[in-house]
Symmetry: C2
Subunit: 318 residues, 2 copies
């Protein structure tokens, strides 16, 4: 990971105009979990692939991820990310649109110089652009769902499969391709889909049920932002008619006292056993992810990093 | 061109979510000059290249061009394009950001299925992404110039070279590559740069000096929008101190009576001989473009389409 961090420190050096390139460097040197590079590198290692090649691919996917964050933050009107002002807040939304566009292009150009045979490079670009399109579709479903009264749990899961899981799947498939281990591509995709969904459900869970709250986040922030997550759809599914109506009402208003709103919604969630339901589903997706990893038929010791990722997800508290 | 139009009619058929894909179809079936596809096809024909391959490339570049229009219209707050509401006006700016992002990706995926050898396909993707980055840089310079008092004619020309000419250069270089005529790539690039700049200067010229005004445009619209074009920088260069100050003032206010403002600015332009100056420079760039075409050393009859394009640009009145 050290090489990747070093690359992000320098990749815009000397490039002009600075209002285009500086925002990219800003967001890419803020840290973050680096989950996507980690997936590319660990999987390539597990498959005895070339780590130098994997670093290029890891950088490209982390750039793609951060491009989506720059644009998503404009759409979601989000002022803070990782405890820092978002790009559109620090500069403005025109600069955020444009530097996002340019970052997506830089990501692709990183793949273009990946030191591997041409056939593999083209296959990587194919996966990469397919991924990028799925993420756009996921984000559009997310925007559509905000105002769609017919949106339910199934629609929500389709949305996060595209918006969150697809990018992880892209990282894993790319690692399989660059390691010339197409035989593992399908099982790794299934792993990625389930990991991604479990990951998002854990995020949804921790927003309300975390013991310690992440820096810069508000407990119940999703409720206050009327963000319909797994918790909301799980409740809707199990609620009596009265709670159902109340929930729909609470998630349509924004002038209620914050503490009272969180309390009222949480009471409905409790009556609907939402906490147990989301815990159950996180376990189900994590267990599916385990199964998929075993389906690669790789020796357990090769997969230790990826198994560990699932263990960490289980016990994650922030 | 018929195949290309047919492709745009159908390329989003059956794709979901429709809020992501419908805006792409909307903008790509509005017509427009199709200058970029025309350049790819005519140049490929001149170089005896494969027209089927050229159609894929032409489609990709037209999609790239329209992606930049979708995002530019958000940034410029432009309500109308080609006599129709812009994407962000017809839908909203979130949808415009996202469908623009997705269109850029679809454009690249069109190149990925271009029926040509892998080495050429990778070279086309290289040119395409380089072009895309140059256009972003040009648009950022354009945004920067709006508020930069030190911006002058040279800075303006650099900006339009990237924002407008680079895309034409990308089309021409791609035609050379797909036709396996690298020997013509440089001369065609020079042709594209000069054609692009001449094209933009003609646009700047016609905004104020056109006899008949284009549908949906206002005569002097650039002046009313405080858009600093070649006319403004040419005037600044030749104006006396008093006119200079007046010009800077006029281009910083937006509450003046439209007719009076255009009249006042035009009087300064007239004193500075702006009309003659821009006519002179259009001729210079067109003549450089002619020279570059001759430098390809292709027989004149092969180049007739491209020569004709320059003739049309000379006499263009709207």
């Amino acid at each position: 990971m050290k090489n990747i961090e070093a690359y992000f420190q320098d990749f815009t050096k000397g490039l002009e105009p600075s209002n285009l390139y500086e925002p990219m460097r800003y967001i890419l040197t803020q840290g973050g979990k680096r989950l996507r590079p980690h997936l590319v590198l660990s999987t390539t290692q597990a498959l005895d692939g070339n780590i130098i090649v994997a670093e290029y691919v890891a950088e490209a996917f982390e750039m793609l991820h951060n491009f989506t964050l720059i644009h998503d933050d404009i759409m979601d009107d989000a002022p803070i990310r990782r405890g820092m002002p978002t790009v559109y807040k620090k500069w403005n939304s025109n600069i955020a649109i444009l530097s996002g566009d340019a970052l997506a292009t830089m990501a692709l150009r990183r793949l273009l110089v990946t030191p591997c045979p041409e056939t593999i490079r083209l296959k990587l670009i194919d996966i990469f652009t397919e991924t990028s399109l799925l993420v756009c579709e996921g984000q559009q479903y997310d925007l559509d769902n905000e105002t769609d009264d017919t949106c339910d749990l199934a629609a929500y899961l389709l949305c996060i499969e595209k918006k969150t899981a697809a990018l992880l799947v892209g990282c894993l498939r790319s690692a399989a391709i660059l390691s010339e281990r197409e035989d593992c591509e399908h099982a790794l995709s299934v792993f990625g889909t389930n990991l991604g969904i479990a990951f998002q459900l854990k995020d949804d869970y921790l927003d309300l049920y975390s013991e310690n709250i992440k820096f810069g986040k508000t407990k119940g922030g999703d409720i206050l932002a009327n963000k319909k997550t797994f918790l909301y759809f799980s409740a809707l599914k199990h609620a009596c008619k009265e709670d159902n109506n109340a929930l729909i009402h609470y998630f349509s208003i924004s002038d209620m006292n914050p503490d009272e709103k969180i309390k009222a919604v949480k009471e409905i969630f409790d009556r609907c056993n939402v906490q147990k339901d989301v815990e159950k589903w996180i376990d189900i997706y994590i267990s599916k992810a385990y199964d998929a990893l075993r389906d690669t038929n790789l020796p357990e010791e090769k997969l230790s990093d990826l198994f560990q990722l699932l263990e960490q997800l289980k016990v994650r508290t922030v």
